[in-house]
Symmetry: C2
Amino acid sequence: LTGESIRVPLGDRSYDVEVGRGLLKEWGARLHACGARGRVALVTSTPVDELHGETARRSIREAGLDPLALSVPDGEAAKTPAVAAELHERLLDAGAERGTWVLALGGGTVGDVAGYAAATFMRGVPFAPAPTTLLAQVDASVGGKTGVNLPRGKNLVGAFHQPELVLVDLATLDTLPGRQLAAGWAEVAKAALIADAELFRYLESSVDAVVERRPEAVSRLVASAIRIKAEVVGEDERDLNGRRALLNFGHTVGHALEGAAGYGTLLHGEAVAIGMSVASRIACELGFLSPEDETRSRSVLERLGLPVRLPAVSVDAVLERLKHDKKVREGRVRFVLTGPIGVASLHADVPHSLVRDALASLTSAGDGMTPSHGEPHP
Amino acid sequence: LTGESIRVPLGDRSYDVEVGRGLLKEWGARLHACGARGRVALVTSTPVDELHGETARRSIREAGLDPLALSVPDGEAAKTPAVAAELHERLLDAGAERGTWVLALGGGTVGDVAGYAAATFMRGVPFAPAPTTLLAQVDASVGGKTGVNLPRGKNLVGAFHQPELVLVDLATLDTLPGRQLAAGWAEVAKAALIADAELFRYLESSVDAVVERRPEAVSRLVASAIRIKAEVVGEDERDLNGRRALLNFGHTVGHALEGAAGYGTLLHGEAVAIGMSVASRIACELGFLSPEDETRSRSVLERLGLPVRLPAVSVDAVLERLKHDKKVREGRVRFVLTGPIGVASLHADVPHSLVRDALASLTSAGDGMTPSHGEPHP
């Protein structure tokens, strides 16, 4: 099996993200090599279980481990405090101990709730996700963010809990619906836009290969995005010094949009694509990003099949949601802006009116591509 | 104000435990010096609020902070997932952000649930407890263990979340009922028994002063116990290398007893005192602890007003509970044993029959003071 290991450098909590095609067949052996023993809890959802459960369980059993299957609902319905509590109960039923590993096989929601359950079970048990969506592979599974949603917002309850090992089997992307795949590419584009101009040029030049799921392009882009994320997380594990906050490019508006549109309407990556489109608009207005680079940023997203304009939601509903964003500090919304492509910075002083105008210009009816330089923003 | 600062050495998560009489009047200023700003959530229970709430709030306000009072039930009733969830809701109601500090004013249960709520709100917000019971001052408030109970056991759900500052106002002990105070001295005796023979001799020589609450003895013992805990936590933050596990001396049987007797029947410190008595019995049987030191260990506890024999519970019920202890690894109960006084070690191989005999010999009817050296324990 070909593949590569990407180290997330976090001192005594460092771990590897292993990336390659067909790695799921080796999951058990690699878990065992990292210290897993005896009974392990395997959290998954029914659709993922049908596709990959048997491969995973066989690999786990072949390594001498004893997988206990725990099923969670599909999609965001899994990310609730009640599901995490149910996982705890089932872990107790199974006699789980402080050394019992929790594995997650599935997309970001499976990983988030399983990771949160692992983080809070007996003050934390070992966690190892094998993400099966592109979004989870390049983003959610690296960095230790776990959590569940409350009715008032996403990820309002959660914990940092670094995994022991992340296994990225690129073959799981073969069965991923195109819409979900595109949503994952949004995070890859994000990584390039905030940190790697060269990777962005490669993405621009290989959009066709990406859309056709050609293994070489997929592999290079996924590994590069993970490498960027690993580096940022290594510098700012707990999102404290501003470095990790740059990964939130597109997420401030993205999260607000997901909520305003009704969770489940937009995929996370789609909401982030729109959020990046809005942030690029703002960055251009403020003079950080050239009009050409604003266009390039948006164009790649569109060519990847992603939305770059607001769905049918009111601008006011989005603005109201922004107020409750976790990234709010002392009442001010913080925006990540790019400029030039490959460089990102954090801004706490974006005028409210500019945010409103950018949102309004990118409603489905609006013409977001017409810059409005020079307008006053009191 | 006199007082001293004890550093808990945890790299970029290091913090100070400030110990002295009357420190609560300076809480606000010290929180501000550590970075607290604006609105802070002050979690407390009604009885503690009546005694110390006004002093705390005035101090917080004088430092320019805005305390939001959040009340939790008194005692173990506070340590439930539902109370933690309610704290989250109230934090959201109040517009809490990722930088909002959560303060805890009260005993261990207030600190545990407030700390857990802080650990899991938006993946962790700053936490600063001012423990008002001796038990919480010398034990629970240092080291970052937070959690809530499930019907099946204590602290089954929780997280490690180091505080920013721990404020120990020894004057809060003046109003503490004698039984609760004694329960706290159990943890001080524990610290001496596992790590500091000289401190144990001082404790033996000053039991009368301790029982009379003489400030000098109280201050020296509390600070010494915190120093021991800080050192152990600094070496083994997450309870991984066995060092921190030594702090569980008396806790293995203690936790089982608390549950078997019905939560609330025994105070935690009382259960730990009995647990230490049982562990000393086992250590003597195994030849680690001399019969004289077994007697000294138990005698200090009794003179402090602590129980050293099992209450009216069946030995089988205690043994059954032991199986579900968090400290179980691969099915084996791990015991911390002392020998000689001031030195502790971890044992995973204590024969089941020996545990049973030690428990049986220390039932209220039994005669635990008669050693039974030489009996076989297959």
